[in-house]
């Protein structure tokens, strides 16, 4: 069986969300959110809890109705369709498998509830279920009940169940949120492969930046119901639009600085300001592991090393910079040259990001 829909040659827009707003009582869950996804794109909605990402996903599924805005899928007005006619495959954080049905019955559910005229025959359904079971690598477990499966297995069943209806779009709500780190990483890779094979537009909700950056074609970052930034994983990681995005996408260090005539000055260190930097007082952000070390008499910011701790593959370097403690990171078994506990060094952020201060 093939899960690939008829090949489309152009990079057509599949999903268009325009000005969607949703309010719960006085609490605004979504504020005028607009974004698009191309056909077969893997889009991640990333944000902390309360950012509105799950609400947006439920709007797409039809489980929530927005107060304002428009959702189109394949050019069709999606909001006018009831949930059951949208043909979206939804996967929930806590699996939402039908607990009183076997794995096979769960997967078959979407086929058995079809209208009589559209319902496949018993043997067709059995074949489809068998295909899907092998797709999710659970051939022998069709007769089990959800309670008899591990978390990772349950989520794979949930995916198979969602794929059974040949969905036009796959919606995943923190699908790996309840799983442990090891299983999560395995499933992540597997999900991406499955997406590529199935060729379905996928919207994936997560609060885990690593997961979003690793999996998605594009990442939409939400905060307090607003879309803050939308871009490819590398774009958003390397050019976070706001301090919030910078902070959210990884660990961060910050220092106050000043930009004047193309030069960036932080304390006694001066360097060329990156292109497009704001003028005047700025906040300088950088990643704790994107730092060059130099001898104390070299160029850079003075950092007084206070402690060095090896943690697995990384080394944590605690230091005092401009009167504030800062936690830097180095990789690999050997320390950067000149870094000794109790002694000063100079540090230079490799890729400082500047945001207007205040």
């Amino acid at each position: 069986m093939s899960f690939r829909p008829a090949a489309s040659t152009d990079e057509a827009l599949a999903l268009e969300i325009r000005g969607v707003s949703k309010q719960y009582g006085r609490f605004p869950a979504l504020k005028n959110v607009s974004l698009q996804a191309r056909d077969r794109e893997f889009l991640a909605l990333l944000g902390p809890s309360g950012s509105g990402k799950t609400t947006l996903l439920r709007v797409l599924a039809g489980l929530e109705e927005p107060d304002a805005g428009e959702v189109r899928f394949g050019g069709e007005d999606f909001l006018a369709l009831p949930v059951r006619q949208r043909k979206v495959g939804m996967v929930f954080q806590h699996y939402a498998l039908f607990r009183h049905m076997t794995v096979a019955q769960n997967i078959a559910f979407g086929l058995t509830v079809r209208k009589r005229s559209e319902k496949p025959s018993r043997s067709e359904i059995a074949d489809r279920v068998a295909d899907l079971l092998s797709l999710v690598q659970m051939e022998d477990l069709g007769k089990r009940f959800p309670a008899q499966l591990s978390g990772g297995q349950r989520q794979r069943v949930a995916l198979a169940r969602a794929l059974a209806i040949e969905p036009r779009m796959l919606l995943l709500d923190e699908p790996f949120g309840a799983l442990d780190a090891q299983v999560r990483r395995e499933l992540r890779r597997w999900l991406r492969e499955l997406h590529d094979r199935a060729g379905v537009t996928t919207v994936f909700v997560t609060h885990d930046q690593e997961e979003a950056l690793d999996l998605a074609d594009r990442v939409a970052i939400l905060k307090d119901g607003e879309l803050i930034q939308l871009g490819k994983p590398n774009e958003v990681y390397e050019h976070p639009a706001t301090p919030f995005v910078f902070d959210f996408l990884g660990q961060s260090c910050r220092l106050p600085g000043m930009v004047d005539g193309g030069r960036l000055r932080v304390a006694d260190w001066e360097t060329a300001a990156p292109a497009g930097a704001p003028q005047g007082a700025v906040e300088v952000f950088f990643r704790p592991d994107e730092v060059d070390f130099a001898p104390a008499d070299g160029a850079g910011l003075v950092a007084q090393i206070q402690g060095i701790a090896r943690r697995g593959p990384d080394v944590r370097i605690d230091c005092l910079v401009e009167g504030a403690t800062m936690e830097l990171q180095a990789h690999g078994p050997s320390l950067p040259t000149g870094v000794t506990s109790g002694l000063p060094v100079r540090i230079r952020p490799q890729r400082p990001q500047l945001y207007p201060a205040g």
Binding site: A61, G62, L63, V83, R84, Q85, R86, K87, V88, G89, M90, F92, H94, A96, L97, F98, R99, H100, F109, G110, V113, R114, A147, A158, R161, A162, A164, I165, L171
Partner: protein, 283 residues
């Protein structure tokens, strides 16, 4: 389910046996002894007298009436209970806590009041009394009154049983069913109902026991017309006041039997399907 039932127990040597003894004594005095008395007095004049009392026309009428009232009130309350629990647990709306309180109300008001409200509404001097009389409809001192009173008193049983379970289960499975293309009715029939079936049965069982055993509320609306508006519990009282102790205890033995049967079924449910009852019923 495999994940429930991991309880830690405290150990206090010497205390536990004492507690067990106290509970056993209390059980014997408060439950076993009265049960023995019921059956002993019912059979005091021999099995023939017992069977004769059972065959008495008024007794048969009382049993029939009790079954009729329960047969109407229990299914209705099962439907109301499922509907109430469904709305409360699967939807967000204003006034939810008020609805919850209203469902619980019959638990906190005296059954006599539950009967009296119907008299005040539909009695001869009641709000709609004249209208009903003009149209030749009889509610009070008739079967409709008994049914209404019983429904009111037993209203919370099914809903109370379902709400915690449905809250625990959440609405994700229903949402999943909808996204997979199920209609609202299919979702209810194939997902919601199977998930709550044992808790529903449990609630119906308790509801039925109370419906058949209810005294206070039906006593107010019944009028105690022998062979016509006396349910089994009322029949017991009438016979007892007539000093017909064999008759009274014979009727009482039927109710006691119902109680024991309910208890057995309830235990079977708790034992076999604890995983599918609400958390408070799990062992």
């Amino acid at each position: 389910m495999s994940l429930v039932g991991n309880t830690f127990r405290i150990r206090l040597p010497g205390i536990a046996p004492l507690m067990v003894l106290v509970s056993a004594l209390a059980m014997a005095v408060l439950i076993v002894l009265p049960l023995v008395v019921v059956f002993h007095d019912a059979l005091a004049k021999g099995l023939d007298a017992y069977l004769a009392a059972l065959r008495e026309p008024d007794a048969i009428a009382a049993v029939k009436l009790t079954l009729l009232v329960a047969a109407i009130a229990v299914p209705l309350n099962a439907v109301f209970g499922v509907a109430g629990a469904w709305t409360i647990t699967k939807f967000e709306f204003r006034g939810k806590s008020i609805l919850l309180t209203l469902i619980d109300l019959p638990f906190s008001i005296s059954p006599v009041v539950s009967g009296l409200v119907w008299v005040l509404l539909f009695g001869a001097q009641g709000l709609f009394g004249t209208w009903l009389a003009d149209h030749g409809l009889k509610v009070i001192f008739a079967v409709p009154g008994l049914v209404l009173a019983t429904i009111l008193v037993t209203f919370p049983f099914v809903a109370r049983e379902l709400i915690p379970l449905m809250q625990e289960q959440g609405a994700d499975e229903e949402a999943a069913a909808l996204t997979l293309g199920a209609s609202g009715f299919t979702m209810f029939r194939r997902v919601t109902l199977p998930n709550i079936r044992w808790a529903l049965l449990y609630g119906v069982l308790l509801c039925n026991a109370r419906a058949m055993g209810e005294f206070g509320a039906v006593s107010v609306v019944s009028g105690h017309i022998r062979g016509l508006t006396n349910t089994l519990p009322l029949h017991v009282e009438v016979l007892y006041n007539d000093y017909d102790s064999v008759g009274a205890f014979t009727a009482a033995s039927l109710l006691a039997g119902l109680g024991i049967l309910t208890l057995v079924l309830k235990s079977v449910l708790e034992w076999r399907h604890s995983g599918e009852l609400s958390a408070s019923r799990k062992h």
